[in-house]
């Protein structure tokens, strides 16, 4: 049965437990969520940077590829120009060369030789070879159909005297393909301009090559010109056929539409788009030295995959961490609770033990008869103690005793009870104090061998004989007050339960007058105050000389000891005989 105080405490502990859990969660969850968010953000930023780098790499790769292609396909025109440098007048000699190139190079659709009339041959000249139906055809590109002199591919080169690539264009007449024309200037040895050799390059192959280089499910590339025309696209239906805007409309991607609006107006260069319900991040870059824009698409799922994994792991760790903390806290609190309950259980058991122990002592602490008074006081140092006392009224006498078991606490208490029972039994057998002690001694030794001993003082007063008979086995001496105050000494005996066959002998003291007798345990004389001074027998005598009662002695001890906890059981028993004793 737990005390109400303990029960309240346990309920309080439950409330504390709930509070602790609440606060742990309150603090840890936002903190961890914030950390998670922060880490995610950092990781996402890093991943984006990485993706951008990758996109740049792709762009460079494409750039190189394009340059390479253009270079390869236009080399012949430069070669032809070079061939004519020293002998411009032999311009006709390059014609077969050009024709052969158109025939053999599948990427070259056509090639033209256009001459500056002011130089030679003093008239307009523009011969054009082109692919048609698997053969090479030739025609003159001249007035009235065609004024080559005003064409950009002629005039610009004339102006700058440098090889120029034209912008990609759709040439209906040229076989319905997208092309770009390279114009190579013809310069004589004095660096005077005298004509142009062109190469019409089909760029569908280039477009395909770009896709080959860059396409994967998670990442692909568009190339557009400044009007949005798809020069390269994974899907042949759109490559070199549609603009990115019509493509976006076809697949219902508003985000793509808007992204390219931004790209072509040179707004941002990174966009989030959704194509066919997949999310991509679009990185756009200009192809160097051109109007073309390359867009690298990276699927978000792939881009952020490390992040997703990281997030999952972090969540798991966080969750596990919180769980562990909670479990530990709960465990500690449970332990705590358990300890408290154990302690309180033990306390209540000891309290119960004390009750039982006290029940064996005389019921009446103050025993008053017509002949004598007995007053007793016992205070255990712990819940249960090792002191004992008792008395028995006989025919013309009374026998009483005080005893002190060596040690404290449970062992002393148990031995005390055994001693008391044996002793009471001995008193039933004999009235002789020495014999009482002898019987108790032999019986205890018989019952069990343990290292404990008990000091005993047994006193009898016969009011017929007026004789005080006592026997002391290792116990502190007692004090008698008549008109004098003295301490009778008798034979010393070893304490009880030490050796067998001890010769216990009585001491006899006749006392005629009224008297008071005080016997006590050594807890009285050895009571210590805060300065570690002992109460001592002298002080006892001094107190009793003036105030001759158990209560007064107990009070003095109390005051003397002060706050210091008792280190031994205190027992005081007083025996008063005689009518005038009250005046003492």
């Amino acid at each position: 049965m737990m005390k109400k105080r303990t029960l309240n405490f346990l309920m309080h502990l439950d409330a504390i437990q709930k509070k602790i859990i609440f606060y742990i969660l309150l603090i840890s969850i936002p903190m961890l969520t914030f950390s998670l968010y922060f880490i995610q953000n950092s990781a996402a930023t890093e991943l984006k940077k990485f993706a951008e780098q990758r996109a740049n790499t792709v762009v460079n790769k494409i750039d190189r590829e394009v340059k390479d292609y253009l270079h390869r396909t236009s080399t012949f025109a430069k070669q032809a120009s070079f061939m004519l440098k020293l002998h411009p007048e032999a311009y006709r000699s390059v014609l077969p060369f050009l024709k052969k190139e158109v025939k053999n190079n599948s990427n070259v659709y056509g090639s033209a030789l256009a001459l500056e009339p002011s130089k030679m041959p003093q008239k307009k000249y523009c011969k054009y070879y082109y692919e048609h139906n698997n053969t090479v055809e030739e025609k003159w590109l001249m007035l009235p159909n065609y004024d080559y002199l005003s064409q950009a591919w002629f005039s610009e080169v004339k102006k700058h005297k440098n090889g120029i690539w034209s912008k990609p264009y759709f040439d209906k007449g040229g076989g319905n393909v997208f092309m770009s024309t390279f114009s190579s200037p013809l310069l004589d040895k004095e660096n005077h301009f005298f004509g142009v050799i062109t190469a019409d390059i089909k760029i569908d192959k280039l477009s395909q090559k770009i896709q080959e280089l860059t396409y994967s499910k998670e990442s692909f590339v568009f190339v557009v010109d400044k009007e949005g025309l798809l020069l390269s696209h994974p899907d042949d239906h759109y490559a070199l056929k549609e603009t990115v805007f019509s493509y976006a409309k076809d697949i219902h991607s508003e985000t793509l539409f808007n992204a390219y609006k931004g790209i072509l107006t040179k707004d941002k260069h990174i966009y989030s788009v959704t194509i066919e319900s997949q999310d991509y991040t679009l990185y756009s870059a200009d192809m160097p030295q051109s109007d073309l824009k390359i867009a690298v698409f990276i699927q978000d799922a792939m881009l952020y995959e490390p992040l997703t994994q990281l997030r999952q792991k972090l969540l798991l760790i966080t969750f596990a961490g919180i769980m562990i903390i909670l479990m530990m806290v709960l465990f500690i609190l449970q332990q705590f609770k358990f300890d408290i309950m154990k302690t309180s259980k033990r306390k209540s058991e000891l309290a119960l033990a004390k009750k039982i122990q006290m029940s064996f002592l005389p019921e009446q602490k103050d025993f008053i008869t017509e002949h004598f008074n007995i007053h007793a006081y016992l205070e255990a140092a712990k819940e249960i103690g090792g002191d004992l006392y008792g008395y028995k009224e006989l025919k013309d006498s009374v026998i009483f005793y005080v005893g002190d078991v060596s040690g404290k606490g449970v062992p002393a208490a148990l031995f005390m009870m055994a001693t008391q029972i044996v002793l009471e039994n001995a008193i039933d057998t004999t009235e002789d104090p020495a014999k009482v002690i002898a019987l108790t001694n032999s019986k205890l030794l018989e019952l069990s061998k343990n290292g404990m001993f008990v000091t005993l003082l047994v006193v009898k007063y016969n009011w017929n004989d007026k004789m005080l008979t006592f026997c002391n086995a290792g116990h502190p001496t007692f004090i008698v007050k008549t008109t004098l105050l003295f301490s009778p000494l008798g034979k010393f005996h070893p304490p009880v339960n030490t050796f067998a066959n001890i010769d216990y002998k009585n001491t006899f003291l006749p006392i005629e007058e009224p008297f008071k007798l005080f016997c006590f345990s050594d807890g009285v004389t050895e009571a210590e105050n805060t300065k570690q001074v002992l109460f001592g027998i002298e002080r006892v005598a001094r107190v009793l000389a003036v105030k001759c009662s158990v209560k007064d002695l107990q009070n003095s001890i109390s005051i003397f000891v002060g706050n210091r906890p008792a280190n031994d059981d205190i027992t005081i028993l007083s025996f008063s005989y005689g009518e005038d004793v009250k005046k003492m």
């Binding site: 060596s406 040690g407 050594d522």
Partner: protein, 99 residues
């Protein structure tokens, strides 16, 4: 604190304090260090300041063992409070004092 010397008697020197805290250890040390009780015991308490009932139990145990083996127990150097304790507790009825 306890020191043991084996001469004509087993001399057990107790110093400072013997109380509930160190009584068990003291008894253990005595029994260990003295081996078998094959001669009289002499307790030298010249340097002993305090002995509680737990300490007395230790002395009693040794005296009992000595008696079992047919030997006696002696006490030397008891003065003041220590002497009083030994006297009042009746221990001097089975332990003899010597110089």
């Amino acid at each position: 604190m306890v020191e043991i010397d084996k001469e004509k008697k087993i001399i057990i020197k107790l110093s400072n304090r013997i109380d509930a805290m160190n009584a068990d250890n003291t008894l253990e040390s005595i029994l260990e260090l003295s081996g078998s009780i094959d001669r009289d015991l002499l307790f030298d308490v010249t340097e002993l300041n305090y002995i509680s009932s737990a300490g007395l139990q230790v002395v009693l145990k040794c005296a009992q063992l000595a008696q079992q083996n047919g030997y006696e127990t002696f006490l030397k150097g008891a003065e003041g409070t220590i002497k009083e304790i030994f006297q009042v507790s009746g221990f001097l009825t089975f332990i003899k004092e010597i110089q």
